[in-house]
């Protein structure tokens, strides 16, 4: 048993850290640190910088542009990326549709889409959830009917993150309504410019508009945009949802936020002394820090075991990472809001004020803290709610 990284791993970490220090655009980094929203360009520019370095799709197999890194290297990379902080490569493209295409897609699809995903030439969004299909995703009702060499798609998707930027959407659609609900679903790629697609933004409780409804009204899609086999889409969706396992705990981001929290707790004063010296508040920070360290260790155990796993199935322990990771992220955003006290209350609409906060006495850094708190309620809901994760653990690990 040994906790230490090898010499090679340490020098890899230094290389990655150094690259991030020199190459993350200053404005992007500032937005991430302050908790402000990224623009499309922030993400596209950064992913192209990564792609130039050969790291945008680091987790893919080498033949499709991946790096061939070990699980430990991938872990280090992601930790450093989150710590920098730098944006994640667009998950809907890089972690979701990309692996589905290289695993189940045909040669043309691989040749056309994979390099464009790596360079973020196409912005992808995820057409899974529907108003009537949330946790019960397989109950979806968007239909694709084959007409000659086309699909005709009708229905509605929702919670579609950043669909306003998207060039393409991958859609789960029902293609056989007589089969068992999991067995009549297909995975179809769809150009967002196709006539009949309408995007309507949804404003969330933080005031932002990062998610959308996407309507399909007789949308005509070439038949060859089907990925894999007809009616096997549920398998591909399960593969996709289980695929993103390292980094799901977002330990690096939480560490970065704790450093930020401590910075603000030394600036903010309560009872005539810094919040950091308030025993009650400091105990709250300590508690979350300890849980985060435990989670980091749990994650390292999962990563180390991944190196020796023979099957390619996701480790059910990644459900633990998701649950604990989301709880910790939420806890920290709560403390970040608490630390500024009454100055968490003034609300500035980012769209109108372009990120600036011109209130007379509130510090600039206070503006985004309450919105982040509200926004981060999402992390225990998306990607399979924490209750669904507990169902998975009860079944897969405990055998209940």
């Amino acid at each position: 048993m040994d906790l230490n990284f090898t010499k090679e791993e340490l020098s890899f970490r230094d290389e990655v850290r150094d690259f991030f220090a020199k190459n993350v655009p200053a404005e992007t980094k500032k937005k991430l640190t302050e908790g402000r929203k990224l623009e499309k360009d922030d993400i596209v520019n950064w992913q192209r910088i990564l792609n130039k370095k050969g790291w945008a799709v680091y987790q893919w197999p080498k033949q499709y542009g991946g790096t061939g890194w070990t699980p430990v290297q991938k872990y280090i990379f992601l930790e450093e990326l989150q710590r920098a902080p730098a944006p994640d490569p667009l998950p809907f493209a890089v972690s979701m549709v990309g692996p589905v295409i290289y695993t189940f897609g045909n040669e043309e699809q691989k040749k056309h889409f994979l390099p464009r995903i790596a360079n973020l030439d196409d912005w992808w969004c995820q057409g899974f959830s529907e108003p009537g299909a949330g946790s019960d995703l397989a109950g979806l009702s968007t239909k694709a009917v084959r007409e000659g060499d086309h699909w005709i798609i009708n229905g509605q998707k929702t919670w579609t993150t950043l669909a306003q930027y998207a060039d393409w959407i991958f859609v789960l659609a029902r293609t056989d309504s007589k089969a068992k609900k999991q067995e009549g679903i297909s995975f179809i790629l769809c150009d967002m410019k196709t006539p009949g697609i309408t995007v309507r933004p949804i404003q969330l409780i933080d005031g932002g508009k990062e998610v959308n409804e996407v309507f399909f009204d007789n949308v005509k899609v070439p038949y060859e945009n089907l990925v894999g086999q007809e009616n096997r889409g549920w398998d591909y969706a399960k593969f996709l949802l289980g695929n993103e396992r390292t980094g799901i705990a977002r330990v690096g981001i939480s560490k970065e936020r704790i450093r930020r929290l401590k910075e603000l707790a030394s600036l903010e004063v309560s009872g005539g002394k810094p919040m950091m010296e308030d025993a009650r508040f400091r105990a709250k920070i300590s508690q979350v820090e300890i849980e985060l360290k435990a989670l980091e260790m749990t994650q390292m155990r999962v990563v180390a075991a991944e190196g020796t796993r023979r099957d390619n199935k996701p480790d059910p322990a990644s459900s633990i990472l998701k649950i604990k990771g989301s709880e910790i992220q939420q806890n920290i955003t709560d403390l970040l809001m608490e630390v500024v006290g009454p100055f968490a209350l003034p609300f500035t609409d980012e769209d109108e004020a372009a990120g600036s906060n011109e209130l007379p006495i509130a510090p600039d850094y206070a503006g985004p803290l309450a919105p982040i708190y509200f926004n981060y309620r999402k992390v225990s809901i998306y990607g399979g709610s924490n209750e669904i994760q507990k169902n998975i653990i009860a079944k897969a690990i405990l055998g209940l």
Partner: protein, 385 residues
């Protein structure tokens, strides 16, 4: 980065689990508990035969040169079986002080005898007013003849009643709460002026209140330089914390598994109660708490020999906090999910729960260590901009 056991470590794990699996079933344990010692001298001999009692000692002192990982393996098995023998006070604490800081003569005198199972030891540090502060010591050590005379009272000394020797913390100089001025003294349990009142702790282990009245200790029975023992005390308590964390891993995984088994077999309303989602989720939360504790126990194990005392202590406090929180949560949930039967002495569940509760309290509970961790600045430093 590697969390696997080596082949030798796996063998060690198999051998202690094999021994305890054969000899430490619930009924046997009841008999050991009811005996006058409160534990089994017969099993103690078998520990010696397996080399467990000399585990961390060097070969020349009758040991097998095991490290913290080996200790964790043994402690985890002890927690799982709820073994009652004084392994922690004898091998980890009293033996550990001599192993780490003793003179060659002290090592030769005590370690081989411990390894052979001939003597047991104890570490007496807690006082009525000290709570968990290791430096808060009223017991005095006054120079006399070629050595010292000890006077004072120690409480909740694990294995204090049966120990053949007791290592005592006492003040050579300074005020009651000074970190300077402390010493460590090896006291023969039969020495004049030592009186002991033994009892059981809530988890069934044995402990004692110890009165020291004019107890003479020769100079060659002093560990380290008198007056400068505080860092030594910190180190040995860190060893104790790491060992307790290992033991907790055994206890908490046993509690979680026992609860899962119960949910699978207990029928109400015509079905296994494990089919109810509210109970499934509670059991999952137990698993998560137990896994988080295990992760921190591993970290504590790998940091216990860290020479940078601040880094080491910080990690131990973090681990002990996590262990304490997890122990309370897992223990309470296990009782709740077992229902009435969980309340009885007839099931091991309640006994594990009591040990888990005692583990939280020993060497500082979760709240105490949470505060210590914060006082030492935590893991992350504030961002500078």
């Amino acid at each position: 980065m590697d969390f696997e056991f080596s082949e030798e470590q796996q063998l060690l794990k198999d051998s202690i689990e094999g021994l305890l699996g054969d000899k430490y079933d619930f009924e046997s344990r009841k008999k050991f508990l009811a005996s006058s010692d409160g534990w089994s001298r017969e099993i103690w001999k078998q520990y010696a035969e397996l080399g467990l009692l000399g585990l961390p000692f060097s070969e020349e002192h009758g040991g097998i040169d095991g490290g913290p990982v080996e200790t964790m393996i043994v402690m985890s098995a002890i927690g799982n079986a709820l073994a009652l023998e004084p392994y922690l006070p004898t091998v980890v604490l009293a033996g550990g002080l001599i192993r780490r800081f003793g003179t060659e003569a002290q090592k030769n005198k005590y370690l081989p005898q411990i390894a052979e199972g001939k003597i047991t030891g104890a570490f007496a540090h807690t006082e009525r007013q000290s709570r968990y502060d290791l430096f808060d010591v009223k017991t005095t050590a006054k120079p006399s003849g070629n050595g010292f005379t000890l006077d004072g009272q120690k409480g909740v000394v694990l294995n204090g009643e049966q120990a053949d020797f007791i290592i005592v913390t006492a003040r050579v100089s300074g005020g009651q709460r000074d970190k300077d001025g402390l010493g460590l003294f090896i006291v023969d349990a039969k020495a004049n002026g030592v009186s002991r009142r033994g009892y059981r702790t809530v988890d069934g282990l044995t402990a004692a209140e110890i009165q020291l009245s004019g107890v003479k200790v020769d100079a060659d029975q002093v560990i380290g330089k008198p007056g400068t023992a505080y860092p030594l005390i910190e180190q040995i308590v860190d060893d104790g914390i790491a060992a307790l964390c290992g033991e907790a891993v055994g206890v908490l995984s046993a509690l979680t598994e026992a609860t899962t088994d119960y949910l699978r077999t207990r029928k109400q309303f015509g079905v296994n109660i494990g089919s109810f989602q509210v109970l499934q989720h509670r059991n999952v939360e137990m698993l998560i708490a137990a896994e988080q504790a295990k992760s921190m126990a591993m970290l504590a194990t790998m940091m216990v020999n860290e020479p940078d005392a601040v880094q080491r202590r910080k990690t131990m406090s973090a681990a002990k906090t996590q262990i304490g929180r997890s122990a309370q949560f897992v223990g309470e949930q296990a009782i709740q999910l077992h229902g009435g039967i969980g309340m009885t002495m007839e099931l091991k569940t309640g006994h594990w729960f009591k040990r888990a509760t005692a583990i939280d309290i020993q060497f500082g509970d979760a709240d105490y260590h949470l505060e210590q961790f914060g006082n030492m600045g935590g893991f992350e430093t504030a961002a500078q901009r």
